[in-house]
Amino acid sequence: MLPRHPGTFVSHLKCTFTPVVKAQGASRLLPCAFAPWSCTSSKFLTLSVGRQHDGNKRDSPSTHRERATRRGATGTSFSLFTAGAARKRAELAKSKLGNKLIDVPKEANTPKTPIPIKPLSIDDWKKMKAEAYNKTRFEVSMMEKLLSNHADIDIAKSLLVYVTMETGTVGYELLLKYLALCVQGHHLNEVLDLYAIMKTKFETLDTGAYSLFISGFSKTDRWKEAVIFLDSIKKMINPSPRNYGDVIISALQHKEVETAWRLLNEMEDRNLKPNEDTLQAFFDCGKSSCDEQYENMMMNILSYLRDNQIYPGESLMRSIQSWFESLPGKRWEGHRTTIVHSGECHICKTLLESIQLNEEEYNILKECVMNDVIQGKDVFKKTTPMELQHFQSFVKNRLPFDVVIDGLNVANISAKDIQSKILLEVVSHLAQQNLRLLVLGRQHMLRGTRSWDKGHMTAIQKYADCFFTSNISEDDPFLLYATILSGNHCKFLSRDLMRDHKACLSDKNTRRLFFKWQRGHQLVLSGYNPGRKMKFEVIPKYDTIVQSTKNTWHIPYEEEGMERCSYEVPCKWLCLQKRN
């Protein structure tokens, strides 16, 4: 009944399944051949902390949305870290508030001076200026309006004619806006002309002009000059990824692969994140030319995506797929897929990388959580040294725990019952599974108030070890530390996304480690109704990251039209498989 899992760790847990009936239309809407799986999968388990059976919580966007609405009605929620979960939570909250928060769309304020639809004569421009609200910056603001309305270039030209006739010259700002209009409308000859004019008229140009010239020139035969512009930007400020991207794309189009690589490396040195279409250009270009060296470079890009946890968008994903399939003699085959909870790919049956950290990473994280999250620059900010010491000795004597519970977070999950009772129910439910529990809370919980019943609290203390921090200390850092100290099998129960604690970590890499660990170790109660069976959201067993084995590549990608928060991971995958 259960699929085999190499990474099963809490083996003494009882597992019970509650298959959830899925939308009937799901299979029809799914793009690929593996549809039958995805509509007979279950999303939530009744406490299967260790083992998840094959459930596929990822469907096509339309079914996703359907389900979201239905789920909103039944009051359950989804995995905390799947793409789009935050949005759905927000919608749910909104509907609970009775759509009070729906913001009224602002009336589109009509511009005071409408833009002309055809080139005007000088007299007409004069008349217009006389009627205009803002006369001092009339020309520039008019050009801005033309720019934002994607107006025809001739109208702008007639404006420039008017300005030259009035003043005998054209100001830099106006020329700059006109240049932007030309670049926007791909009037490349006009850009070249403008360059000639501006070069003679002004000794130097500003960075804005340079980046406009870069994107203009890179589409013409004189793209090499764009490289020079890039250099002159570098002298003044750090160029943007867009600037680099424009040059790189044109270099690739003109088969100057060396330059493109050099620039890409330079970007990495400058800590700039390349735009998606820049990377896509590399894959698109690679389809025609293919030698060993180029292939290695592409692998470098893929490992760059992996190292920086970048998920390609749908168009980039398609480029990657077609590049792989175009490789001669290798016979790669690409499919879009979703992954079951056990971490098995539907197509090739490969097990994906485990979400568990390896020992070295785990130790780094342990240290960082202690140093950065709890102690930080000042121990007194979150706790006191006495309390910290007390906690450390407390934990050391009782290790290891199976589940660490954020008492206050769990108790406040529902307003239907008093807080201590909810906590007691959750704790007793977990205790029935024979788990070693640690409940973290604050001292005010013990005082015996209306919402914190003393009887409930003593009952909780029977089931679990409890640690109560002082009321002005933070309990989350203790929660994280106790969980990490208990070892890899230990999980924590909280709805908190822990973003502020993640932000305390000093560098990007540890933050990534923390997030990976969090995805693998955070239990979330998915909705709570007093008296009903308790459900927990499933914890995926695999890591969502670009990864490869000898014969396969698995690349998670972002669906189009799916809003993904920074702390969420995409659920769609591209499976690339080498046929032998």
Binding site: K118, P119, L120, S121, I122, D123, D124, V140, D152, D154, K157, S158, L160, V161, V163, T164, M165, G168, T169, V170, G171, Y172, E173, L176, D193, I197, T200, K201, F202, E203, T204, L205, D206, T207, G208, A209, K235, M236, I237, N238, S240, D378, F380, K381, K382, T384, N471, I472
Partner: protein, 439 residues
């Protein structure tokens, strides 16, 4: 697209070129005339309705600005003399700033070498832009102030003349000599000196130097200056203590720079000692917005501490951590209890704090004191049921009485204080009304 444009343009074309022609005659020399003749000849020929021929006149008309600009360049190429600064990178930054100004960005017109160097040292583009914007705004304000001053001087001169004309030589018969600012200062200083002897201490904790950047520090010192001024002008000033002020730190330097010679004559206590060394620990109360305890009544025997920090990067819990470390009592202002809070952080500026404390010390009423909270931050005062507030107060009094019985007279003193001030200030008016009503 062209077709569409040309159709629309057919009528305008003729008109426009004629316009150009007249302009040319008045402004431009011979060389341009030749060009114009060409264009006129095109316009004057009867246009058949074929596309190509229609395109021509329009195009020439539309691109005329280019030729004009090209011809202008010989004259206009000089206005950017690249001054030799020795440092080539400095000149490039200067040029960049100049070009940004031409491009309509908010950058200052004049920039000193030192400021340029600061721009260079900033690592990111946005930091550079922000700093330049700050400089530009500063420059604009300075300019506006200067203009205003000039205007004022002009009118003042006129006024003086008028006054002289009217007055003539005769002096007025007055009871008092002109009451100069000097006399005010003398009075204030006398009060401040008295507060140095008998006044209630108020501590500014200057230990946050390392948490602030330069601008935050400058802002803090400005606020401190304002604090000292408010305190000096008040009826019953605090005895100000600047504690933890190290003589080699940025604070001290900035304070000296702002006060100059006045620093040595200032009637405050500035020390590098900590407040825990000066005052008994149980008298100290650290005021911090992060505190869980509410300052319901102002106590006249306590020493309140204000952390002098401007915290723009939102480092929460700094002063609370400090108080925790030293095991001091903490308190926050009863903002939520009295105000319908709207938006904005609950940490107030130093001068707002001291104004609130001075008022609550004088009058004992939080309503009066919390008028110094900026109005944008709240929607008005809460109409808390009086009964409830009364209950809160009595409970606290009981607590105070239980813990420290000798505090009672102090509290009584505070009430007596309020009565006095009520009589002095706004109360008198109200009282008259009641009187009138009774009769």
């Amino acid at each position: 697209m062209w077709l569409h444009v040309t159709h629309l343009f057919q009528n305008i074309g003729r008109h426009c070129s004629l316009q150009v022609n007249t302009w040319m005659k008045t402004k431009v020399g011979l060389a341009r005339h030749q060009f114009m003749l060409h264009s006129r000849s095109l316009v004057l020929t009867p246009c058949p309705r074929t596309e190509e021929k229609n395109v021509c006149p329009d195009k020439i008309d539309l691109d005329i600005w280019k030729t004009v600009l090209r011809e202008n360049t010989t004259e206009a190429s000089k206005p950017l003399p690249s001054e030799d600064f020795g440092d080539s990178s400095l000149t490039t930054t200067r040029e960049l700033v100049q070009m940004w100004q031409l491009a309509g960005k908010t950058v200052p017109e004049n920039i000193t070498d030192e400021q340029l160097r600061t721009v260079q040292e900033l690592s990111t583009k946005s930091a550079k832009k922000k700093y330049l914007k700050y400089l530009a705004i500063k420059e604009g304000k300075k300019k506006a102030a200067k203009e205003k001053q000039k205007l004022k001087q002009g009118t003042a001169k006129l006024l003086q003349k008028e006054v002289k004309c009217e007055e003539g030589a005769a002096l007025k018969n007055t009871f008092l000599m002109h009451f100069w600012q000097r006399s005010f200062d003398l009075m204030y200083n006398w009060r401040a000196a008295q507060s140095m002897l008998f006044g209630q201490p108020l501590v500014f904790d200057m230990s946050y130097e390392s948490y602030m950047n330069r601008r935050e520090m400058e802002n803090t010192v400005s606020q401190l200056l304002e604090c000292e001024g408010c305190n000096r002008r008040s009826l019953d000033p605090f005895h100000l203590h600047f504690c933890n002020l190290s003589s080699d730190g940025g604070y001290y330097k900035e304070l000296l720079k702002r006060y100059r010679d006045a620093w040595d004559n200032l009637l405050i206590t500035a020390t590098d000692e900590s407040y825990i060394d000066i005052f008994p620990k149980d008298k100290l109360v650290y005021l911090t917005a992060d505190s869980p305890f509410v300052l319901n009544t102002f106590q006249h025997d306590k020493v309140y501490i204000i952390g002098s920090i401007v915290d723009k990067s939102i480092q929460t819990g700094l002063s609370h951590a400090n108080a925790k470390r030293l095991k001091l009592a903490t308190a926050r202002l009863p903002l939520d209890e009295y105000l319908k809070w709207n938006s904005g952080a609950k940490n107030l500026t130093l001068n707002q704090m001291i104004n609130i404390l001075l008022t609550v010390k004088d009058t004992g009423s939080w309503e009066e004191a919390l008028k110094f909270v900026p109005q944008r931050k709240h929607e008005g005062f809460l109409s808390v049921p009086l009964e409830q507030r009364y209950r809160n107060r009595t409970r606290e009094q009981q607590k105070l009485n239980n813990s420290e019985p000798e505090k009672k007279p102090r509290w009584q003193k505070s009430t007596s204080n309020t009565n006095q001030t009520v009589e002095k200030s706004s109360g008198s008016h109200k009282r008259k009304q009641w009187w009138v009503d009774e009769y």
